[in-house]
Symmetry: C2
């Protein structure tokens, strides 16, 4: 039992070390030696847990998605209105992208299409389904227009957000990500929120990302 726990701890350390090495060196340039060193483990330990660099990269993306689901579930369980839930999710991911090496690496592995053939689609599919479902509730709650197609909204929002974090990463290493997400929502509100609810939507956004930021 203690041995199983130790093995699990080593596996997690290898995933965290891989995330750090991929972010620092790039996925394709990072070697399994770099990953083992970054994890404070041996290459033998690495190959005991993972058959290849690709397998450990997929484990990084899986962990990033697991963290997203855990964090997302906590936010949904707050029971806030659907519109506020979406704002909270967008801010939460932005904050985790700024500080968590696994999230940083997972997002980059997902957005760099040259890394995997076929490219990774599961993280997008998960966000598309989540935002489609929450947007449908926002329509029911009257915070989104009655004629809004929730699936179409998600098909627009998730790629937009993806590009916004990517360009923020390119220009500022994501230091300006929260103000850019604030601007994204300010642009989107008039397109999806009924006129009489826009003031409320802006107040909720102001509470999460103050204008001064």
């Amino acid at each position: 039992m203690a041995q199983q726990v130790r093995a699990q701890i080593t596996r997690e350390r290898l995933i965290d070390g891989a995330a750090e090495a991929f972010t620092r060196l790039g996925y394709i340039s990072a070697t399994t030696t770099d990953i083992a060193r970054s994890a404070g483990a041996t290459r033998g330990a690495l190959y005991f847990h993972f058959q290849s660099k690709e397998e450990i990269a997929r484990a990084v993306v899986d962990k990033e998605q697991r963290l997203a689901v855990e964090s997302g579930t906590r936010i949904v369980d707050l029971g806030r209105p659907a519109l506020e839930t979406m704002l909270l999710l967008s801010v939460d991911l932005a904050e985790r992208m700024q500080v968590d090496p696994v999230v940083k690496a997972g997002i980059r592995l997902t957005t760099e299409n040259s890394n995997f053939d076929p490219p990774l689609r599961a993280p997008y599919e998960q966000w598309l389904a989540t935002f489609g479902a929450i947007a449908a509730v926002a329509v029911e709650q009257g915070d989104f227009r009655g004629d809004l197609d929730p699936a179409m909204f998600a098909r627009f929002l998730i790629p937009s957000y993806t590009g916004i974090q990517l360009v923020s990463d390119t220009f500022t290493g994501r230091a300006d990500l929260l103000p850019r997400i604030r601007e994204m929502w300010l642009f989107i509100f008039p397109a999806v929120v009924p006129a009489e609810r826009i003031e409320n939507a802006r107040a909720v956004l102001d509470g999460l990302i103050p204008e001064a930021l």
Copy 2:
């Protein structure tokens, strides 16, 4: 003189070959041997024109930007209203991304932040400046709201477009890019176009990207 022309032709062929090799193998995996073979040239010819793989990659991005400026200038010179000019530019880049190996490779080299340190910013800066300037004209022409901040509009649109083409590439190899761009504009219109001009904006969009597509 004939020798200079031949050298120029070889250089262009090397850039096109590099674009093809980067798209097929990924920038980091593609070797200078792959690039020379893909160009039908020798490695000697490659190293006569370029000092490194990074230099040839920057030449691919430069050529992609040159093509964008040429194509963009042709569109701006049509003298259409600013809103229509922006729609035309968004469709033109989408079409070139689908068929032109240099554009495909240039965009991917730009969006994959692991490729260069620091990451490439010039292509974004150029698009941000172009769309900021055209959006200011759309405000003057009354097709964009009078209180719209053109720079903020560009800071939202260019990253959104970047993400939309990236996710379309991930899911369909960009086969669904035009319908996704249509949806992007349909979402953006109510946020930026005065109510009395929205019908006109949709008609112009319908003319460029029919709904059935």
